[in-house]
């Protein structure tokens, strides 16, 4: 049941997007999100949608897989949609029970929904096509100038990659523990809220204990290999920009310029 959470899970396949330098993907994701908030007309969104569509096609990740992951966020989208629909002041189109849907509300709500959907898909493409290790490598390299200000960039990146690495392990563990307790008649689904919360105890206690045990083992294993943090550490596979990465940056600049020009200034 927990295996169904696919939002942001790495999807193994071989594509141009998968091979890109993680720094490119990080920067691209941030700029893409920024572009969504810069534009405020339909042409801009059309452009963003086209860009996104192209990337999805290139990434070879089945669209179905992305949508499946988005199901868990459907509720959030719905709430955003409803709030915008009803709470935007303007020319009323329809009113009932003292609430009214305005023309501005409809426009605002649909734009907001498109923005959110694009944002979620855009950022999930990054995590779908980049392994967590690559991602933190890229982040570390991007933020390395901050080391001058004594920001512990390497340590933070290491913590992040460990945390990300443990998510699937702990999910699998949760699944196993749930099954072990269900085999003893535990019921995680029915009953009142209080009962459900209490039913979590047999799940959470073994899970926490196991997380601590794993953390302890990992710390020991790292120490046994003389890990001492970021100073003078070299990489086995250092990140180097290649031709494709430069082309990707170029495409990104073109997209950004186009979306600023078309989506904001001229129309």
């Amino acid at each position: 049941m927990l295996r169904e959470i696919t939002l942001g899970q790495y999807y193994q396949t071989d594509s141009v997007i998968h091979r890109l330098d993680p720094r490119v993907k990080l920067v691209a994701t941030m700029l893409f999100i920024a572009s969504l908030f810069i534009v405020d007309n339909w042409i801009g969104y059309l452009l963003g949608g086209g860009f996104l569509f192209g990337i999805i096609k290139l990434s070879k990740v089945p669209f179905r897989f992305m949508v499946k992951g988005m199901k868990s966020l459907a509720m959030l989208l719905l709430i955003a949609l409803i709030f915008n629909l009803f709470l935007t002041p303007g020319e009323p189109l329809l009113s009932f029970w003292g609430l009214s849907i305005t023309k501005e509300g409809v426009i605002q709500a649909s734009m907001m929904t498109i923005r959110l959907v694009f944002l979620i898909i855009g950022s999930s493409i990054m995590t779908l096509t980049t392994t967590p290790n690559h991602l933190t490598d890229g982040l570390e390299k991007l933020l390395s100038p901050l080391k001058i200000f004594h920001v512990p960039v390497h340590e933070t990146a290491m913590m992040m990659s460990i945390a990300l690495r443990f998510i699937p392990i702990l999910l699998e563990e949760t699944d196993k523990i749930m099954k072990a307790q269900m085999a003893r008649g535990a019921d995680f689904e029915s009953g009142s809220l209080i009962r459900k919360v209490r039913a979590m105890v047999p799940l959470l206690v073994p899970l926490f204990l196991s997380a601590f045990r794993r953390a302890n083992d990992l710390a020991m294993a790292m120490e046994a290999r003389c890990y001492r943090g970021g100073e003078h550490r070299t990489k086995m596979k250092p990140l180097v920009y290649r031709k494709e990465d430069r082309i990707a940056y170029l495409i990104l600049v073109v997209y950004l310029t186009a979306s600023i020009c078309l989506g904001r200034i001229f129309l």
Binding site: Y11, R64, K176, I177, A183, R184, G185
Partner: protein, 283 residues
């Protein structure tokens, strides 16, 4: 009255690139009171198979029947099924959670809706059955040794008084002494209660001397399903799939090759000794 698997198939991660077939067209009949060894290499589908038996997993094709009823019918009471088909998972760490051993064993009966007195009685009986002494009853289950934890985990399932007891790799991670203790314990539970026991393992040596039937799984399919002696006759094929027959089987086969007319179907050291003695006496 039995468990019947009818053309059961199971697929992992259906519809993604990682799709793999865990079980293919498995047909089995498990009659009451049998002591079965379910053997296979890692990834052979044996763990998936046992989770189908108590309804924790649902087959993608085929049916599982318990006492003549399809357990995956919408109105079948799966909670009741799980108290009748008890499954002990590989790691006791996955199920121990209470402050003390005794309350942990009470968890199963409590979920069945029994009253407190009955729960405690069952917990006491179960703990005695697995040989946990009174002094451990009010200790934290996390302070116990590996072998003791495993006993408590088994007691946790036994307390539900199942009709079928499935143990998934109960000897993994134990030293030889602990392993023998647990296996002897399982054999004695079986002797006392006469319930069906399915012992999942990847080690032939472990199960050979105890069980009356061995089911060998390979890549999601049932490869052999027979008495131990007959299964071990296929020593060569077993090796090809990463399993092995007990050591004594190899010794007897070598003796036979050298021209000594010894019977090769022995599976325990004692049987092998008798087989060799028989030849020597004749000679």
């Amino acid at each position: 009255m039995a468990i019947i698997l009818n053309h059961v198939g199971y697929i992992y991660e259906k519809g993604t690139a990682m799709e793999t077939c865990a079980l293919k067209d498995v047909n089995l009949v498990i009659p009451d009171g049998q002591f079965i060894g379910l053997i296979g290499h890692t990834g052979s589908g044996k763990s998936t198979l046992v989770q189908l038996l108590n309804g924790l997993e649902q087959p993608d094709s085929g049916n599982v029947y318990y006492n003549g009823e399809d357990i995956h019918e919408a109105d079948y009471d799966k909670k009741a099924l799980r108290s009748r088909v008890g499954l002990v998972f590989q790691y006791p760490e996955h199920q121990l959670f209470e402050m003390d051993v005794f309350s942990d064993v009470c968890f199963g009966p409590k979920n069945m809706g029994l009253n407190r007195k009955e729960c405690e009685l069952r917990a006491y009986t179960a703990l005695k059955q697995v040989g946990v002494e009174d002094e451990y009853f009010y200790q934290s289950p996390f302070d116990l040794s590996g072998g003791q934890k495993r006993r408590v985990a088994i007691a946790g399932v036994l307390a539900m008084k199942p009709e079928v007891l499935i143990l998934d790799e109960p000897t993994a991670g134990l030293d030889p002494r602990g392993r023998d203790d647990i296996l002897n314990l399982i054999a004695s539970i079986r002797k006392e209660t006469g319930i069906t026991i399915i012992l999942v393992s990847h080690s032939m040596e472990d199960v050979a001397r105890y069980v009356e039937r061995i089911i060998v799984m390979n890549q999601g399919e049932v490869m052999y399903d027979d008495t131990p002696a007959k299964v071990f006759a296929h020593a060569q094929e077993l090796e090809q799939v990463g399993l092995a027959a007990p050591q004594v089987t190899y010794i007897l086969k070598k003796l036979e090759k050298k021209g000594i007319p010894v019977k090769t179907d022995a599976i325990t050291v004692e049987e092998a000794r008798d087989a060799i003695l028989q030849v020597l006496r004749k000679g």
